[in-house]
């Protein structure tokens, strides 16, 4: 725990720098993002989006192990999914953000996204441990929903808006989607060469992309 905190201390400045230096924006809403420097949210309000972005940035931080949820555009994945496959979770997020900010203010005096990262981590730990109050039905269930969707956004096919530039897959050392795999790629004495591609960039599945990602 101690070295986790000291590492955070050390990374405080790099994390902020990383967020500003946000890399190539080649998706939809590019113009709006470039204009404001902030991602534009399609389902959540801009305020909710700001809270979400701050949460996922602490769950999978930008640090010495490379880019994190911010660069992988995990918040964009969740925002889009909340008007698609995860629409049933939209209420959970909306109520959860209200409770989260209320709790952050009651303990640390500011909205979650305005807190220093140590305080943000403390708040998130309180959610995970279910010691944070004001959540319905409880803080830990909200935390688990956000955590599981953050992992989905970081490590799912980039067609869904997250895992931008295959950041998540490269973090894990995933050697990439293939449609046919030789015996040599399943050895233990040599690692497969990484080759990153979205499933929907294979010609056989290109037609499915629109249907599966609501046209994005």
């Amino acid at each position: 725990m101690t070295n986790r905190l000291s590492r955070r201390e050390m990374l405080k400045r790099t994390a902020v720098a990383g967020a500003v230096a946000a890399v190539p924006l080649r998706q939809r809403n590019v113009r709006a993002e470039q204009h404001s420097g902030q991602p534009v949210f399609e389902t959540l309000t801009q305020g909710e989006g700001k809270t979400l972005s701050a949460v996922v940035a602490r769950l999978i931080p930008t640090d010495e192990n490379g880019p994190g949820a911010t660069e992988a555009k995990v918040a964009r994945y969740i925002d889009r999914a909340l008007s698609g496959s995860l629409i049933s979770s939209l209420g959970t997020y909306r109520q959860g953000f209200v409770a989260l900010n209320r709790y952050a203010e009651s303990i640390h005096g500011s909205q979650f996204s305005d807190l220093p990262i140590e305080a943000q981590d403390q708040v998130l730990s309180d959610l995970e441990d279910d010691t944070a109050t004001g959540f319905s039905p409880n803080a830990s269930s909200f935390f688990e929903v956000v955590r599981s969707h953050t992992i989905q956004g970081m490590f799912s096919d980039p067609a869904y808006g997250g895992n931008d530039d295959f950041i998540g897959w490269e973090l894990l050392g995933y050697p990439g989607v293939r449609t046919s795999v030789t015996a040599d790629l399943q050895r233990m004495d040599s690692a497969p060469t990484a080759r990153q591609i979205s499933a929907y960039d294979f010609p056989a599945f290109a037609d499915l992309k629109t249907r599966r990602t609501n046209g994005r």
């Binding site: 070295n3 986790r4 590492r7 955070r8 990374l11 602490r58 769950l59 999978i60 931080p61 640090d63 010495e64 192990n65 994190g68 496959s85 981590d121 998130l124 995970e128 955590r147 599981s148 992992i151 989905q152 970081m154 490590f155 799912s156 096919d157 067609a159 869904y160 998540g168 897959w169 973090l171 894990l172 050392g173 995933y174 050697p175 989607v177 293939r178 449609t179 046919s180 795999v181 015996a183 790629l185 399943q186 050895r187 233990m188 004495d189 690692a191 497969p192 499933a199 929907y200 294979f202 056989a204 599945f205 037609d207 499915l208 249907r211 599966r212």
Partner: protein, 569 residues
């Protein structure tokens, strides 16, 4: 609108693993068959290698009948309902769950058919666990062997035989019963990881072997060999190398001209005539109600839906549900003890990123009665299975062995190092039926049509828990021998909705304790057959599909042989 259709010889409710198999011998024999399927056709172009779609979103593109009627579980009759699953373990489509299942295609071992008599003979009757309603099957493995063989060839199964007509072959499962000929295809290939686990097992004197799979190891029936691409776990095959009934038996049955496949048909009741024989099946399709009269009805949906439809089909002759005048529908339910896994951490990458759950190595030394139970306080055992199957979301969701928190920089560093160093195991264990484990209709929870969903009242008992602890010891021993540096044991869980659900319409000679006779036809309704694991009274320690398919073929064969004769006519 109600549409009365022309009469057919046989109507099959559900064209999945078992209905899809039974259709072939019936159609080939010249009977006219209508196959009613709640789902639709899915083809290779829909099976993109997409973990999110397959494993986390429950196939949203397919018909969701099953997901609208997910069974509700409680542990015992005075317990509150458990929290409800969000996804049904099975799916609707032509071919059913064989589209995305693991395709492990095991035969049961000889002991599984004779649990009561063999336990009594070897250890005494007192060793049958108290409260269990287990019976011997009405026949042994030798009766089912030729149907196992038939399905292995007609559907297509890869594997290594271990007992060829009594001659033991150590490359295969030395504990299996005699088989008349080898599998039609060699086993799926090994990997660096399976070789490591095979070597470790031999080191401690066990008998490792590659498991059987309804997946093409070589080109078969004009369909491609497996591509080992890693999206087979709840994923459909883009190469048609997984031998679902949608690509094997169903198209061949259609080619006879005698099978009419009706998709998106939501069956709501089986009707009886004044003599108490089934006369027709009623289903909804695109908002209209259709009545399909038939000489014979074969009920071939999943265990929960088989029981549910029988209980929903009430009439003057069967006031408590069809074929339930003895109160046996829903009884003798069990779901396989598949929980209680063991996960290991190794000090090196295992390269499990590709492959499929059926590409693995098995140990049967501790299954069934393959070892002496004299000094143990349980009967039965488990099959140990490790395999090559890893995708990014599930890899990142790995446990952290108590070493780091579950998020933040320390977690990120941990998964960066260990995403390919952890491996689970699949431990299927003997599970018995008990007096107080059963299925019925939920009194208040319904599907959107207002029909009650199935309710599961069931929990594991001492025998299952003792087997589970014993098998976890064995699995840990195997992982340690292979070099694991950390081990986590998971809880057994309870008996909620499962992909391995058995019983509810058990098969047996005694009409007082069984719903169907030894041929699969209802004791109380001779022109009603039931297909699927709902007729099985024991689980063994292996996946049920091949056994359910062999039984389905046998029921269909029986129907063909006796067509026009009493009592079927």
């Amino acid at each position: 609108m109600v549409v009365e259709l022309p009469k057919t010889d046989v109507v099959i409710i559900g064209l999945g693993a078992v209905g899809g198999v039974a259709a072939l011998p019936l159609a080939e024999a010249g009977l006219t068959v209508v196959g009613l399927e709640a789902g639709r056709w899915l083809d290779t172009r829909e099976h993109a290698p997409d973990e999110l779609f397959n494993n986390y979103r429950g196939w949203p593109g397919s018909v969701q009948k099953a997901n609208r009627e997910i069974p509700v579980h409680r542990t015992h009759s005075s317990a509150p309902d458990s929290s409800r699953s969000s996804i049904h373990p099975m799916m609707n489509a032509v071919g059913g769950t064989t589209l995305h299942y693991w395709a492990q295609s095991w035969r049961l071992n000889p002991w599984d058919f004779k649990v009561v008599s063999e336990t009594t003979r070897r250890y005494g009757a007192s060793r049958i666990p108290a409260g269990s309603t287990v019976e011997d099957w009405p026949f042994g493995l030798e009766e089912l062997e030729r149907y196992y063989d038939r399905v292995e060839f007609e559907v297509g199964v890869s594997g290594q035989s271990g007992n060829l007509d009594g001659t033991i072959d150590e490359r295969g499962n030395i504990f299996e019963g005699p088989r008349q000929r080898p599998y039609p295809m060699p086993p799926l290939r090994g990997t660096g990881f399976t070789q490591m686990m095979t070597d470790a097992a031999r080191q401690i004197g066990w008998h490792p072997f590659p498991g059987p799979a309804a997946v093409n190891s070589v080109r078969y029936q004009n369909r491609a060999a497996c591509g080992y691409h890693g999206f087979c776990n709840r994923g459909g095959c883009h190469l048609d190398a997984k031998n679902s009934t949608a690509v094997s038996t169903i198209p061949r049955a259609q080619a006879t001209g005698n099978l009419d496949v009706v998709t998106e048909a939501h069956v709501r009741s089986i009707n009886v005539d004044r003599n108490g024989r089934v006369s027709s099946v009623e289903y909804l399709r695109n908002g209209d109600t259709y009545v399909q009269p038939a000489e014979v009805v074969l009920l071939a949906s999943y265990t929960y839906e088989n029981v549910r439809l029988l209980l929903m089909s009430m009439s003057d002759a069967f006031p408590n549900g069809l074929a339930n005048n003895h109160g046996q529908v829903g009884r003798h339910y069990l779901s396989h003890a598949q929980g209680g896994g063991v996960t290991a951490l190794f000090p090196r990458n295992l390269n499990l990123w590709y492959g499929l759950p059926a590409q693995g190595v098995a140990i049967d030394d501790w299954a069934d009665d393959n070892f002496d139970h004299t000094e143990h306080d349980f009967i039965g055992g488990g099959n140990l299975w490790v395999f090559s199957d890893r995708r990014p979301i599930s890899a990142a969701s790995m446990g952290t062995f108590g070493r780091v928190p579950r998020w933040g920089s320390a977690w990120k560093s941990f998964i960066k190092e260990n995403a390919d160093r952890s491996v689970g195991s699949y431990l299927q264990k003997t599970t018995l039926p008990y007096e107080n484990n059963y299925l019925d209709l939920h009194p208040t929870v319904t599907d959107p049509l207002g029909d009650p969903v199935c309710r599961i009242t069931a929990d594991y008992r001492e025998n299952e828990r003792r087997v589970s602890a014993f098998i976890q010891d064995k699995m840990e021993q195997w992982f340690r021998e292979a070099g694991a540096v950390d081990i986590v044991r998971h809880g057994l869980g309870t008996m909620g909705p499962s992909t391995h659900a058995y019983g509810g319409t058990r098969m047996g000679d005694n009409a007082e304790t069984n719903v169907v006779d030894r041929w699969g036809f209802a004791h109380e309704v001779q022109n009603l057959g039931v297909l699927g694991a709902s007729v099985m009274g024991t689980s063994g320690a292996h996946n049920p599909t091949l056994t359910a398919q062999a039984l389905a073929w046998r029921t269909a064969d029986h129907l063909v042989e006796h067509w026009g004769a009493t009592p079927i006519d």
